[in-house]
């Protein structure tokens, strides 16, 4: 249990360090605000006028509106987290402490990812509050939480895994470029233009979860393209599969990094 307690201690302080970053809140607020103010296809403005649309539909539209660009901020916020220890000369001190690399990495992941997602969750709750007043439907808030959990949270986990680990190998500037390019190519570029995972279960923008919640395909979910086995019809089980795959895919780089670090320590 000592290991778990130590890991939770790392998690707690990683959370506090990340959540105190003013620029994280400002960045998410500016992005979310710009998205909310613009007229964007399939966003909440396209839900039927009040009091018409059900809370499920309205909040799902908010979630996938945010999921188009907010994950860029997630990736940028986490990109240099692990390199920071080297830069601030805390790596040596941390390596001398009892929690092993795996525990520290897990705690860092959980704490920093939770904190990085907090402003996005707050943005969803603000949107839910706005819609509650506008449409007079208190179900907006629980559906806002559900939509965040189904659409935005898996994207965050997926992005976080690669954002924390890839800069260790690629260098941070190159990771940032490839990440933004990947986000467009892998989520928004149609397979007709280029082979791309857009619209597949591995598309981290949350197209399957959003499609299931809305009851109609959105964000290119299930469109024909490479690897047809990953492009089922968007149903509840497909959405669950997508969420699971994204979470597992996001944890893979961390598992790899943790194993390598543990081996280096005992070598």
């Amino acid at each position: 249990m000592t290991g778990v307690r130590e890991m939770l201690a790392v998690c707690r302080y990683e959370f506090w360090m990340q959540i105190r970053k003013r620029s994280l809140w400002i960045t998410i607020a500016l992005l979310a605000g710009s998205l909310a103010a613009g007229r964007f296809g399939m966003g909440p403005r396209y839900a039927p006028a009040p009091p018409g649309a059900p809370a499920q539909e309205v909040m799902t539209r908010w979630a996938f509106l945010f999921s188009v660009i907010l994950p860029i901020a997630f990736g940028m916020a986490l990109a240099d987290r692990l390199l920071r220890d080297r830069r601030l000369h805390t790596a040596e001190l941390l390596a001398s402490l009892p929690p092993g690399p795996a525990g520290r990495l897990t705690g860092t992941f959980l704490g920093s990812v939770t904190a990085t997602g907090a402003p996005a969750l707050a943005a969803m709750l603000v949107a839910a509050g706005y819609e509650t007043v506008r449409r007079g439907d208190p179900a907006m808030i629980p559906w806002g939480l559900a939509a965040f959990a189904a659409v935005l949270a898996p994207a965050l986990v997926f992005v976080a895994g690669y954002a924390l680990v890839c800069p260790l190998v690629l260098t941070t500037p190159l990771f940032r470029v490839l990440f933004v390019g990947y986000w467009f190519w892998g989520n928004l570029l149609l397979p007709a233009t280029l082979p791309t995972p857009t619209g597949s279960l591995l598309s981290p923008i949350g197209s399957y979860a959003a499609s299931w919640l809305l009851g109609t395909p959105v964000l290119h979910a299930g469109i024909p393209g490479p690897l047809p086995v990953l492009r089922p019809v968007p149903t509840g089980s497909a959405a669950a599969a997508s969420i699971s795959l994204l979470v597992v895919a996001g944890l893979l780089p961390l598992l790899t990094a943790g194993l390598l670090r543990s081996r280096r320590r005992t070598a």
């Binding site: 620029s23 960045t27 188009v68 860029i72 940028m76 920071r84 500037p173 940032r176 390019g181 280029l194």
Partner: protein
């Protein structure tokens, strides 16, 4: 040019580092790899050419913006620099100049290779810098300005990435309005090189002026950079 000038530029190229300096060139390599995959998938020459042009027009400016923020945001010896008679704005200007020069060389070489291989579908080769240079300067200028203003790498890189992505997504919105079209960063790969796009590129270049002015004003108080968010 004096030998000391050459040595100074060599030093600043060293401070730029491989990661930032080669980032843009590596972005072009990625574009070439994607084009090769596309060709392998059975795509025709026009499609492959479009991918390569996209690398120059879209990926290169993004790479420059990210590299430029890292130039401005991180320097181990910043306090020492601020105590030296050479203005820190000059030091940063040199490093960004090296970045611009290295990127331009890579872009010109890439263009030459494409043209020689018969894969060039952009403007006349002589005018080819209009394809990548204005967007590179604009997005890089935006990123540097925000990095200096906010002293936050997160805000600067997200702004650059967000603007890039938004412009990719909302091409039709830009195309629909005469006033917005000159501000569009990807007129060839996304808007089919509409008539007058080269003139619009010159207009885009002119809009860099506010960023440049902002950067120069902010660098009059370089001590602000002693307290970057992550320090």
């Amino acid at each position: 040019m004096h030998s000391s000038d050459v040595e100074m530029w060599r030093h600043e190229a060293g401070r730029l580092g491989w990661a930032a300096g080669c980032g843009p060139a590596l972005a072009l390599v990625v574009a070439a790899a994607v084009a090769a995959l596309t060709a392998g998938d059975g795509a025709g020459r026009p499609q492959v050419s479009l991918v390569l042009i996209t690398g120059l027009e879209a990926l290169l400016p993004l790479a420059v913006a990210m590299a430029a923020t890292s130039v401005v945001a991180t320097d181990r010896a910043r306090e020492l620099h601020l105590s030296l008679p050479t203005r820190y704005a000059t030091v940063l200007g040199r490093r960004l100049g090296v970045l611009a020069g290295a990127t331009s060389a890579a872009a010109v070489a890439f263009t030459g290779v494409l043209w020689a291989a018969g894969l060039w579908s952009g403007p006349p080769v002589v005018a080819s810098p209009l394809l990548w240079a204005p967007a590179m300067a604009w997005l890089g200028g935006l990123a540097v300005f925000i990095a200096l203003l906010t002293r936050s790498l997160l805000l600067a890189t997200t702004a650059a990435g967000g603007v890039w992505l938004a412009q990719q997504l909302f091409a039709s919105g830009f195309a629909a309005h005469d006033w917005a079209r000159p501000l569009y960063l990807f007129p060839v790969s996304r808007l089919g090189a509409y008539p007058g796009w080269m003139t619009d590129r010159l207009v885009l270049t002119a809009t860099i002026a506010p960023f440049a002015a902002g950067v120069l004003i902010l660098l009059r108080r370089p001590e602000r950079m002693l307290t970057e968010e992550e320090a």
